[in-house]
C-alpha cells in the first residue's frame, strides 16, 4: 500500500516539472547587465529624452524627480535644459499627441513608467526588444517592424535605435545605449529599489542577531524543563 502511494507521489514529482517545460514559450531573452549606478542611469536618461520621448511618456516621473532621486541627482541647471518650458512639477510627457500617434503608428505608444515591471523578463525584455529588430525571413513584415522578441513578431514601433543594418563599429555603442535605457527604465519602474536594498541589508542583519538572542533566551528558559 505504502509503496504504491510513494510511487504515485513520485509520478507527480515527475509530471509536474514536465508541465513547466510545456508552459514556457517565446524566445529566450538576451542577457543584459542592469546597473543602477548614477553614470548608467544618467546616460539612460539621455537616451530616453533624446530618442524614446519622441513617442513615449513617463507619467509617474516629474522633472523635479530627476533632481530629488539621488540615484540620478541632476542639478537644477541640467533639469532646466531638459524640461524647456514645462514646469518642474510637470510629468515627463511626450509631445506626440495621441491622434498623431494613431495616424502614424495605428497605436498610441505605451507609457514606459512601469514597462520594466509589467513585462516578463523586465530589463532584459526592453534590451531584447531594442536590439531584436531583424529582417523578416518570410518577408511579410516591413523592415523595422519585425522583432522576434515581441509577441506576434510584428511591432508598431520602428527600430528606435537604428539597430537593423547597423555597422559593426556601431554595434558596441548601440548595445550600450540599449543597456543604459533598459537600466534607466528599470529604475523608473521602482525608484525606491536602491533604497530598499540598502535598508534591507541592515534589517536582515538586525533580525538575524535578534533571532539569535531569542534562541539563547529560549534555551535558557527551557533549561529546567526536561523534554
Amino acid at each position: 500500500m505504502k509503496q504504491t502511494m510513494l510511487r504515485l507521489a513520485l509520478l507527480f514529482c515527475v509530471l509536474t516539472p514536465l508541465g513547466v517545460l510545456h508552459a514556457e514559450e517565446g524566445p529566450t531573452l538576451k542577457k543584459v547587465n542592469i546597473s543602477l549606478d548614477q553614470t548608467t542611469l544618467r546616460k539612460g536618461l539621455n537616451v530616453f529624452t533624446d530618442v524614446c520621448m519622441g513617442c513615449h511618456s513617463l507619467r509617474y516621473m516629474t522633472w523635479r524627480d530627476l533632481m530629488t532621486y539621488p540615484e540620478i541627482g541632476l542639478s537644477r541647471q541640467d533639469v532646466d535644459d531638459l524640461r524647456g518650458d514645462a514646469p518642474l512639477s510637470a510629468r515627463m510627457l511626450t509631445e506626440l499627441s495621441a491622434k498623431d500617434a494613431m495616424d502614424s503608428y495605428g497605436i498610441v505608444p505605451p507609457d514606459l513608467s512601469l514597462i520594466a515591471r509589467a513585462r516578463k523578463g523586465h530589463g532584459a525584455y526592453i534590451y531584447s526588444i531594442l536590439t531584436g529588430f531583424e529582417h523578416d525571413p518570410k518577408g511579410r513584415v516591413p523592415d523595422g517592424n519585425y522583432n522576434v522578441y515581441f509577441p506576434g513578431h510584428r511591432i508598431a514601433m520602428s527600430d528606435p535605435l537604428g539597430w537593423l543594418d547597423h555597422d559593426s563599429e556601431d554595434e558596441a555603442d548601440l548595445k550600450a545605449q540599449a543597456q543604459d535605457v533598459a537600466s534607466f527604465l528599470t529604475f523608473v519602474g521602482e525608484p525606491h529599489q536602491v533604497e530598499r536594498l540598502a535598508i534591507g541589508k541592515w534589517v536582515m542583519i538586525f533580525l538575524v542577531l535578534m533571532t539569535f538572542v531569542l534562541w539563547l533566551l529560549k534555551r535558557a528558559v527551557w533549561q529546567d524543563v526536561e523534554h
Binding site: 505504502k2 515591471r117 509589467a118 521602482e190 530598499r196 534591507g200 533571532t211 531569542l214 534562541w215
Partner: protein, 404 residues
Amino acid sequence: MIDKMLDSKVAGWVDDRTHLIRYIRFHLIDYPTPKNLNYWYAFGSIALLILVLQIVTGVFLAMDYKPSAILSGGGFSVAFDSVERIMRDVNDGWLIRYMHAVGASAFFFVIYLHMARGMYYGSYKKPREFLWMMGVFILIFMQAIVFFGYLLPWGQMSFWGATVITNIIGAIPFVGDWLLQLVRGGFSVGDPTLNRFFALHFLFPVLLGIVVLWHVMALHVVHSNNPVGVEASEKNIIPFHPYYTVKDLFGIGVFLIIFCWFVFYHPTGFGLMIETDNFNPANSMRTPADISPVWYLTPWYEILRSVPNKLLGIAGMALAYVCLFLLPWLDRSPVRSARYRPVYRSLLLIFFVSIVVLGYCGHHPVTPMLTVVGRTASVIYFSFFVLLPFIHKFEKTKPLPEDI
C-alpha cells in the same frame, strides 16, 4: 517583571473594574500547555502577528488609496495612480505596500502549514471539532478578503481575475444573474465593483479579527493537542509564559527573517505575490493571454476548473470545503496523531501533495496534460475524504504511550 506589573495596585484597580488582568493571565500567562509542543505549534502565534500587521499596514494604505476606476488619462485610472503614488511619493509607502502584499502571501502560507499541523496530529478530533471548523471558516473568510483586496490596484490581473471569478457566480441556477449583478454592482466589473470591494476589504478583516479571537478563546477552553495526541498528565503541563512566549518569539524571529527577505529583496515574490501583468492598468478591451488567480487560491480554482461543467465545478469546489468542515466526523479512528497511524499518515502526505499539484496546475494556462494532472489531483483530494471513514477498520495503529 511582568508578574510585578500584573500584581501592581494600578493593575488591581483595573482588574476590579474590567477583569482585564484576569483575561491576560488566563490567555497569555497561565494557560496550561503540554511541554512537548514542537515548532509546528508556532504558526498560530505567527498567523496572529500577520493579522495585526495586515490590519495596521492596511489602514495606512487606505489613507492614501483611492478606490476609483475613473480614467485619469492614457488608460490609467485614479486607483492605479494612487497605488503608484503610494509606491513613489508617500513616505515609506513602498515599504508599507510591500509588507501588505507579501503579508497576504505569508498569511496563507502560514495558515496552510497551521492546518497541515492540525491534520497531522489529529487536532481536529474531539473535543476540538468546533475549533477546527472555525479554522476552516477563517480560511474561507481570508480567501474572500484577498479576493476583494486583489482588485484594488486595478491592474490587468485585478480586473480579469475578478471578472473570471465573479463569472462563476453567474452559473448558479435561478439566482445567478441577480447575484452576479449584486456582487459587481452592474453588468460587468467596473467602478461600482471597485468601490464595494474596497468597503468589504476594509470591513471583513475586522470581522475576521473577532472570529480569530473567538478561535483563540475556544482553544483555551479545550486546550492544545500535542504531537503525541494523548492527554498530558499534570506533571507534563507547563504555563504558556515564559515557556511558549519565548519559543514562539524565536519562531517569530525566524519567520520575520524570511518575511523581510521577501519584502526587501523579492517584493513581488518572483511574480507570484504581485503578478507581473498587474503592473499594466486594467483594460477591459484587452484580455490577457493567461489569467490566473494568485497562488494561494489556485488549488481551489483548479478543482473548479477540473470539472468540465461550470455548475458542477462550483459544486466540486464547495464540496472541497465541505469535506474539510466534516473532517472531524469523517475520520473515525480513536487515535489522534499520525505518528501512530501509518495508513492515515501515508494518505495524508499524498493528500498534501495533491494540494500542491492542484495549486501548480491552477496557476498555469490550461494544456491537455495539465488538465489530466489537475483532474488526477482533484480525484486524489476527494479520495482522501472518501477513504477516511473506513481506514480505522483495517489500520494497525502503533501502541500509544500512556503520557506524552
